[in-house]
Each structure stands twice: as structure tokens, then as C-alpha cells.
Symmetry: none
DNA sequence: TCAAAAGTCGCATGATCATGCGATAGCGCC
DNA sequence: GGCGCTATCGCATGATCATGCGACTTTTGA
């Protein structure tokens, strides 16, 4: 794959495909990284993410990696094709749920997760940080659950673990800690 | 229009429509401002922008004003209905071109354009700021009430006013805004 | 390879929150 | 001397949260 890309970039040969559907559910090497590679070598080749992941972090990562669109797999095929056609006319396909997440990023002033300062995750697991970040965005449990594709009870479990580790008892306090201590 | 909204907000009458299609091509008063009003008075009423404007500044303004979607008028009717349905399932309808603009905002690290739109004056009263500060410290309503020597219901009232002014619907979101925007 | 940790899910219940709809009173300001 | 705003208080109800308890699967590490 890598070599193939380099050959294309070097020879300038127009590939016989017009866009890349990037599956993030790949073993090993990250689809995000692959996206970054492609956009570096072939900036004009549209890359559309097609995945089951709906985590805000993943979405934001993909976008910053240069993805031109982000579709989730449960999108009906009919809508999916219609969305993909959008890219031909210079648009960007996004499924509604993804769009919602992105709008929320905008409203809250987006902050790149792969940015400068690394969060001082105080024993918080990756998932817990994820949940905490969504809480900071003001999402309710059910929205957190939906965003992460987990059940309401599982979301509760994570929150419980967060409270325990941060030694707080309430979403307000947790959010305050999270922001002040740059946990997110 | 303004009066109509106020009447709705006051009487609580459920309108016989379930979302607002906001046309930005209005003479005089800004549709953006109208959107802000609506989201403040009727937060749950989805507002979808439908306009011919595709300028990034306009789009970003609309989003930060609380718009739940942004569609451009040259969208085919078929797709348009499909998009609007998205809002019923908690999604956000965006036309591809708009999505593209928004993605670029994200990549470049968006920040509200200081230019056109008002920075949304958050004139919290002194009392409201006090309440908010206590919430940021992680206190529950009853503790806030006790701290200020007021009743639980009064505390509720203040919180309600805060939510309305900050356009949030939860203590988590309020605390996040308070800290980020240095409201306290 | 086995135990610990992480992640998932469920049920249940009391506490708290979010919100709608009032209402009264003081205060500055035309 | 009425109007608008702030601050106060109350009732009611549905939604959400906090928390305890238990259990299963996958991942990870010594």
C-alpha cells in the first residue's frame, strides 16, 4: 500500500479510482495514520472514513488527519451512495450523528486531542477519559452512551469509576476537576 | 415573529410544528439573531438553517448561535427531506458543502470570528454569578442554597436563569462554560 | 498461563436535577 | 405610577443522577 502510494505520487499517474474509502476497523496500523499518509502523498485524493466508530475523539482525529468525510457503517446504503456523490461536487459527506458531534466541538471551541500538552490522566483509563471529556462537553449520560455506542449502564459504570478516582461526587465537581487539572 | 415566540415561551403551548426552518435571507433583522432567540426561549425546538449563503463566517455564526443544522437551498428536495429526518434521531443535518467548510474550521482550530456577530453578552447578574461559582465548586443545589442563605427553590430559579443565558441544559455544561469562558 | 485490569451490561432505589407555571416585593426609570 | 428587572419562594412532575451489588468477556502483563 505504502509503495503503491509512493509510485503514484512519483509518476503522477492518475489512479483508476477517484476516492478512498478508509476503514478504521483495521488490525494493526491505524486507519488514521493511513489517512495521514495518503493526504500527504496525494493531497487531492479524497479520503472518506467508513467505520463503526462514533467516538468524538476518533472523529476529530480523522478530520485533523485530513479525512474529507466521515460515514458510519449503519448508514443505509441508499443514503451512503448519495453522500459519497457529494464529494464529486466538492462537498464533504458526514452522517448526521457525526455532524452533531462536530457541531458540538465547534460550539465548545474545539481543542485538538493530539495537541500540545498531554493530559495528566490521573489513573483514568482511556475509556474513562473519553467519558469525562464528553461530560465536560455537557452531554447527559444517555448522550455519552450513544456517542460511544455503549449502554446507559456502562456509561454509569465509567462515571462511577471516574468519581472514585477523582474523589468527587457529582458531575459538576468532576467537570471542574477535569478542566482545572487539564485531565482532558 | 418575536411576539409569537414570546407567546409560545410564555404559554408553553406546543406549536403544531416540530422544528424551525430558518431562512437567513431575511430583510433587516438577522436570522442568526432570531436563531439565538429561539434557542434561548425554546431550547428543544430544533432550528435548521436553510439559506443560499455559504460563506464560512455565516455558517460558523449560525452554528455558534445554536443552529442544529445548516442546509443550502440548492439541495435537491429529496435529499433535503432525508436530511431533515435526521434531526428526529438526534442527528444534525448538514449539506456536504457546509460540512466541508466546517471540517476546515476544525482542522484549523476554530475560534469565533470576532467580527460580525456579537460575542453573545453573558450578562449574569451578581447573584447568578455567585450561584454559578458555587456550582463550579461542585456543590449541590441544597448546599448552594444553604451557602447563600436562600431556599432550594430560589437556587433553582437562579440556575434556571443561568442555563437560559448560557444556553446550556445541565450543570456539567454550565460549569464547563463558566471555567472556559472565565465567567467566574 | 493465570490473575488482574478494563470494559461491558443489568437491576434497583433514593437523591437530585430540569423545567413549567405561578406569585410577591423592592428598585430604578421614564 | 406604571414598567421592567432582580430576587425571592413555592409546587409539581418527569428525567437524570448516584450508588450498591453482581456478572460476563476481553485484554494485558508478570
Amino acid at each position: 500500500m505504502r509503495d503503491e502510494l509512493e509510485r503514484l505520487a512519483r509518476t503522477g499517474v492518475r489512479p483508476d479510482w477517484s476516492m478512498v474509502l478508509m476503514d478504521l476497523d483495521l488490525p494493526g496500523t491505524s486507519g488514521i495514520e493511513a489517512t495521514r499518509q495518503i493526504k500527504r502523498d496525494l493531497p487531492h485524493l479524497p479520503v472518506v472514513i467508513l467505520t463503526v466508530f462514533e467516538e468524538p475523539a476518533t472523529i476529530l482525529e480523522a478530520i485533523t488527519a485530513g479525512a474529507d468525510g466521515y460515514l458510519v457503517k449503519r448508514t443505509p446504503v441508499r443514503d451512503l451512495l448519495s453522500q459519497l456523490r457529494a464529494i464529486a461536487s466538492g462537498g464533504a459527506p458526514l452522517t448526521p450523528g457525526v455532524a452533531r458531534t462536530i457541531l458540538s466541538f465547534i460550539r465548545n471551541g474545539s481543542r485538538s486531542p493530539a495537541g500540545s500538552g498531554e493530559p495528566a490522566h490521573l489513573d483514568l483509563t482511556a475509556r474513562e477519559q473519553e467519558v469525562l471529556r464528553l461530560l465536560v462537553q455537557g452531554l447527559a449520560y444517555k448522550d455519552v452512551a450513544q456517542s460511544l455506542g455503549i449502554s446507559l449502564d456502562t456509561a454509569r459504570s465509567h462515571v462511577r469509576a471516574i468519581y472514585s478516582k477523582l474523589q468527587v461526587h457529582g458531575v459538576a465537581a468532576a467537570v471542574a476537576r477535569a478542566i482545572r487539572d487539564k485531565l482532558v
